[in-house]
Amino acid sequence: MESEFQKYELIEQYLSGTLKGEALNDFNAMLSNDPKFQKEIALHKDIEIGLMEQEDIPFIKTLNEIYENESAMSSTEKTKEIYIGESIEHPQKSEPGKPKTIVRYLKIVAAVAAILFAGIFINQFFKQSLSPIALSEKWIGEPLEQSSLRNQTTRNERLNNAYKEMESKNYEGAIKMLLDIYENKMDLPGSGLALGYAYIQNSQHKEASEIFNQLLKKTNLKNSDQINWYLAHSYLRNKQFSQSIAVLENMLSNPSVTPKKKEEAKVLMEAIRKQFL
């Protein structure tokens, strides 16, 4: 037992890079002469890699930032394209001597500016004046979130049927189906998240937070950010405001959460503080 434990300690030190100097030389010598030991080390290293969580991979955050920035830039480019396209589409309409093109330009510029200002104003208005519950309903009740849930589905027929029930807003029916999948330990990706989501939509917020907490205990979650986001909403709707804030704070300090989601988390957190705490 003791030698087994010593070997474990050596492997741990080697894998963490803390084995140095003579101890490392001895270890390497042992490794080169013992194929069985080589195999053992390779397995330990492989397990370490295989159990690595996505949020622990540094480049993911960078890549998400690039994606967010590019998406934001490409939507700005689209606005420009519409404006430029409009101005050169009917050049024949401008008569010589009458600066109609300039007028058209000015009209378009004024319209775009008005839309932009209105957009900013509405956005700020919603950010500042919507209650936390209204924000929650706005953000997790919208079809986009449902489709992002759907993206995680497998081709499992039962899970797809549950999604169809959710789409037709039969949340009770969906819960029955999803519970059956979830409780029978069918580890289908997305089934737990969908169950929690259906609970929220069916106003069973306590059950929703229980499911999300169960999911978060699992390791190697690929969608822990999304689970945390829903957990914060289920706490909020169950009037557990401090717990909701704690989850949102956790999201804000997590590098794997996208900037867009962080912004939403911040707004929601401020709204909860303002209204309830």
Binding site: S16, I47, G50, P58, D187
Partner: protein, 183 residues
């Protein structure tokens, strides 16, 4: 060393400049493949990111060597992931691999095999007690044993070390005892 190894280093070292280059250079081509096979822009990005994670993990393995162009490798994995998502793995490929983009099948298949093995590790991890799962996860995040002892309410660092030793031993035993690992 292959000249494209710099992309591997970029993943390992989180090199912002090169990651941006990879994004600009490779994602549009992956996106074209995904979109022409009933996918969306967001799905293309998910596949791209997932493939990079697979390559990152592969690169962390002992003795990893890049023997083809980085894009060849990336495209092969993306293609496999997308086919898997479409549920077309066992049938005739919907997406025909262009020769120049998909010449190194071995490396790609190897990476996909790795993923199956990692899936097994994850499954076995879930068979451990909650405490064991937590302590192994914390150690993988490089949490100090002293801090683990505090977090888990153990008496001291030694107790945490002993507990981690036992949990890891159990995990290795579970993995080695599975037929899929042995085959």
């Amino acid at each position: 060393m292959h000249e494209d190894y710099r992309y591997i280093e970029a993943l390992l070292e989180n090199d912002h400049k090169l990651l941006n280059e990879m994004y600009q250079k490779f994602l549009p081509r992956i996106e074209a493949m995904v979109r022409s096979n009933s996918g969306t822009k967001d799905e293309a990005f998910d596949i791209f990111q997932e493939a990079l994670i697979i390559i990152y993990r592969k690169a962390k393995q002992m003795g990893f060597e890049l023997t083809s162009k980085f894009y060849t490798y990336l495209y092969g994995i993306c293609r496999n992931l997308w086919l898997k998502k479409l549920g077309k793995v066992k049938t005739e490929p919907l997406i025909k691999p262009p020769e120049e983009e998909y010449s190194n099948i071995d490396l790609t298949e190897e990476a996909m095999e790795d993923e199956k093995r990692y899936q097994l590790y994850q499954e076995k991890m879930l068979e451990l007690s909650e405490d064991c799962q937590k302590i192994i996860s914390l150690r993988l995040k490089k949490t100090k044993l002293k801090d683990i002892a505090n977090l888990m309410g153990y008496k001291n660092e030694n107790t945490a070390t002993q507990k981690h030793f036992k949990c890891k031993k159990q995990l290795v035993k579970l993995i080695q005892g599975d037929d899929r690992y042995r085959s």
